[in-house]
Amino acid sequence: MVDSPERARSAVNFLADQGVDFVKVYNNVTEPVLAEIIETARQRGLIVAEHIPRSMMMTRRSTLA
């Protein structure tokens, strides 16, 4: 369970090390976790495909690049 930014970073790095093509995120993450996933994925050259987390509105989500 990715429930903190630290775990998010670790999970994305783990996946990147396995050679995945992109990271998929579903509904149940918090905004700080999502932000960390996006940032770490960016650093590792991975695209993030996601559902908008239930805790966020679409307008708010669009502010996280």
Partner: protein
């Protein structure tokens, strides 16, 4: 690199009075979405703001209209008979049907509302597309990710492919991004599109995301 948001998921609490939103936002999807889109006003300042945010962001949006059409418009029988699905193996169709959750079920009393709501969703997508068309500085891109069922490895829910839903919203078929079997189903989709006269709209079909 960019991030790709799947689905148009506009909540009541960002568009409607909070009292109204509270009555709808927590309903199961099959009830919630028709009721929300019945009440949404695409001409409102709040929708204009959402479109502006999307346009200025670095987020790609995949509106997954095929999924919405599947959920809100087409019943199982209609999907099975849909010409776009005629090339799919029956076992794929059966697999898709077996994945339906009660949470996605639209009550009979809301069928017409759901149908109208789907039309409104396409109008929203068209508004996004038009924004991009008229404003060269926009960064967002719409992606027609044909989020189709790809059994037996694809466990995610999703709609069977219906190209008219996308075409009506003014999309081009840029790619099929599922990693599992994209070439095979992509070939099916492209050939169907060509058969139906959408040949000029068919773009790349590949196993990766299209990037700007």
């Amino acid at each position: 690199m960019k991030s790709l948001v799947e689905h148009i998921r506009v909540t009541g609490r960002e568009m409607l009075p909070i009292e109204t939103a509270n009555q709808i936002d927590f309903l199961p999807l099959g009830q919630r979405e028709p009721l929300l889109w019945e009440k949404f006003d695409l001409a409102s300042a709040k929708f204009a703001e959402l479109i502006r945010h999307l346009a200025e962001s670095q987020v790609y949006l995949d509106p997954t209209l095929t999924v919405d059409e599947s959920d809100f418009v087409l019943g199982a029988e209609e999907q099975r008979k849909n010409a776009n699905n005629s090339a799919l193996p029956l076992e794929w169709v059966k697999f898709a049907e077996s994945q339906q959750s009660p949470l996605f079920e639209v009550p009979a009393a809301l069928k017409e509302t759901a149908r109208k709501g789907f039309k409104k969703r396409k109008e929203f997508v068209a508004m996004l597309r038009n924004r991009r068309k008229t404003d060269g500085s926009c960064c967002f891109q719409l992606r027609a990710w044909l989020k189709a069922i790809i059994p037996p490895v694809q466990k995610d829910s999703g709609g069977l492919p219906s190209k008219p839903a996308i075409v009506h919203a003014g999309f081009y078929f840029l790619g099929l991004t599922h990693r599992a079997g994209p070439q095979s189903i992509g070939a099916v989709l492209v050939s169907i599109a060509a058969d139906r006269g959408y040949g000029q709209s068919v773009g790349e079909v590949g196993g990766h995301f299209c990037t700007r």
